[in-house]
Subunit: 222 residues, 2 copies
DNA sequence: CTCACTTTGTGCTCTCGTTCACAAGCGCCT
DNA sequence: AGGCGCTTGTGAACGAGAGCACAAAGTGAG
C-alpha cells in the first residue's frame, strides 16, 4: 500500500518522542487517515496489534520497514544535476531510509567532475558501467524532458528496475520496470483548478486579455 | 480531474510539433491513459471533439487551460530556500503555465537578501505583508519539517488558500484551504516496496545484520 | 474470578472511478 | 447525393477502495 511510508514517518516521530505504544486512532490522527483504513492496512501485514492496548511503536516500525523492503539498502543513481538534481543529492531523507546514493551522472561536461554532496559527478557515457558495477537498482531521472526517455531507456538496459521520474514527460518502459513520477507543475495546476472553483461562484474576475489563448475564444479551428 | 494537466502537457507538445488534430486514441497513447477514460474526462468539460475526426489541438488546449484556471495568472510565494527552494525558484515549468513567482521567503538571515532566480529573498517576518500586498494565492512550503506547520498556519492566516507542501510532514489546515504534498522520500519507498516484491520469490537476499531493526526480529516489546 | 472498558481485526455496504461496448454523428469518396 | 468508415460521447457492468459497525480479544480493577 502507498500509505505505509506515511505511517512509517509518523511512527518514527513517535519513537523519537519516546512513545512506546500507539492506538490506531492516535496514529490515524497523526497521518490524517481514517482509523479503520489504517487498521485494515496494518492487518494486511499481519496481526501486530494488541487489542485493548494498541500497537508497539518500535515493533511496528520494524514490520512496516520490512514490508517496504527498507531493511536492506537500495543503491540509487541520480541522472541530471541541475538545480533539482542538486537538491535531491543533498536531501537527507534518502540516506536515513536505507537509500544509498551511489553515483551522480550528468551529460554536461562543465558539470562532470564537480563535487556534489560528497560525490563526484560522472559522465553520462559511463552510465551503464556505473549501474552494473555499483549494483544500482533505482534510477532517478532529473534531466530536461527531452533527454528523459533516452536516459530512461539506458537505465533500463543497464539493469535498473525502478525509476523515479522528475522530468515532465511520460516514460515508456518494459512491464518489469516500475516508474513513479513527480511533477511539481502538475501539482500546482491542480491547485489552480481548485482555486478557480472556489472563485467560480463569484463574477469572473478580470479576464486577462493578452493571455495566449484569448484569440481562440470560440472559432479558432484550423 | 487530476489528469487534465497531463493532457495539457501532451497537447502542448503536439501543438509544438504542428499537429492540428488528435484522436482520443492518439492522445491516450501519448499520456499513458485509457482512451475511454480520456474521452470521459474531456466530455466533462463539454463536447469539444468532432466525431470521425478527433479534437482540434489548439482549441482543446484553450478549453483545458480554461477549466484548470490557467487563463489567468496565479501569484506564488516560495517559503524556504534550501536546495529544493532554489530548484523550485529556478524551475521554468511554472512561469510558462501562468504561475508567477512573486516572492521568495526564508527564515535564515544569511540567505535573506541574496538574489535567487532574479528575486531578492525576503525575511520570513514579512510573510504576511508579502502575501497581502502582492495578492498571492498559492504558497509553496519548502522548509524543514519542523517549520512547515507554523509557516503553513501563517500563510493561511495571511490569506493563502492553496498550499503545495514539500516538507515531510502532515499539514493541518482549515477546510477552505487546499493542500497538496510532494514527498520524494515516500515515492522512493514505494519503489523499494515493488522492488522487494519482485525479489520476493527468490530466496531472501543476504539479510543485512547491522540494520537498525535487527534486534527487534521477534521479541522487542518494551 | 468476574466484569467493565478499551482497542483490534474484519464482514458488509456503498460510493466512486475505470473499462467495455455500442449508438450517434461527421467527413470523405464515389 | 448516398453510403462507408472512423471517432466521439455515453449507458451499463465491473471492480477497487473507503467507511461503518460490531464481534473477538486483551487489560486491569474490584
Amino acid at each position: 500500500m502507498a500509505r505505509l511510508p506515511l505511517y512509517l514517518r509518523a511512527l518514527g516521530v513517535l519513537a523519537d518522542e519516546g512513545v512506546s505504544t500507539v492506538s490506531s486512532e492516535g496514529l490515524a490522527a497523526a497521518t490524517g487517515v481514517n482509523s479503520a483504513k489504517l487498521r485494515k492496512d496494518l492487518s494486511h501485514l499481519g496481526s501486530y496489534g494488541t487489542r485493548g492496548v494498541g500497537y508497539d511503536v518500535d515493533y511496528l516500525v520494524f514490520q512496516v520497514s520490512r514490508e517496504l523492503g527498507l531493511t536492506q539498502d537500495w543503491g540509487v543513481v541520480i541522472v541530471g544535476l541541475g538545480h533539482l538534481g542538486h537538491a535531491l543529492a543533498n536531501y537527507g531523507g534518502f540516506a536515513s531510509r536505507g537509500f544509498a546514493i551511489k553515483a551522480l551522472v550528468d551529460a554536461d561536461p562543465t558539470i562532470v567532475g564537480t563535487e556534489v554532496a560528497g560525490l563526484t559527478v560522472q559522465s553520462l557515457d559511463r552510465l551503464e558501467d556505473i549501474v552494473s558495477d555499483l549494483g544500482v537498482a533505482i534510477g532517478v531521472v532529473a534531466t530536461p524532458a527531452v533527454a528523459a526517455q533516452e536516459v530512461c531507456d539506458r537505465l533500463v538496459t543497464a539493469g535498473v528496475s525502478s525509476i523515479l521520474n522528475f522530468a515532465p514527460s511520460v516514460l515508456v518502459v518494459p512491464d518489469h520496470v516500475e516508474v513513479r513520477k513527480v511533477d511539481m507543475s502538475i501539482e500546482l495546476q491542480i491547485l489552480a483548478y481548485h482555486e478557480q472553483r472556489k472563485l467560480g461562484s463569484q463574477s469572473s474576475p478580470a479576464d486577462h486579455v493578452g493571455r495566449p489563448f484569448a484569440h481562440l475564444a470560440r472559432a479558432g479551428r484550423r
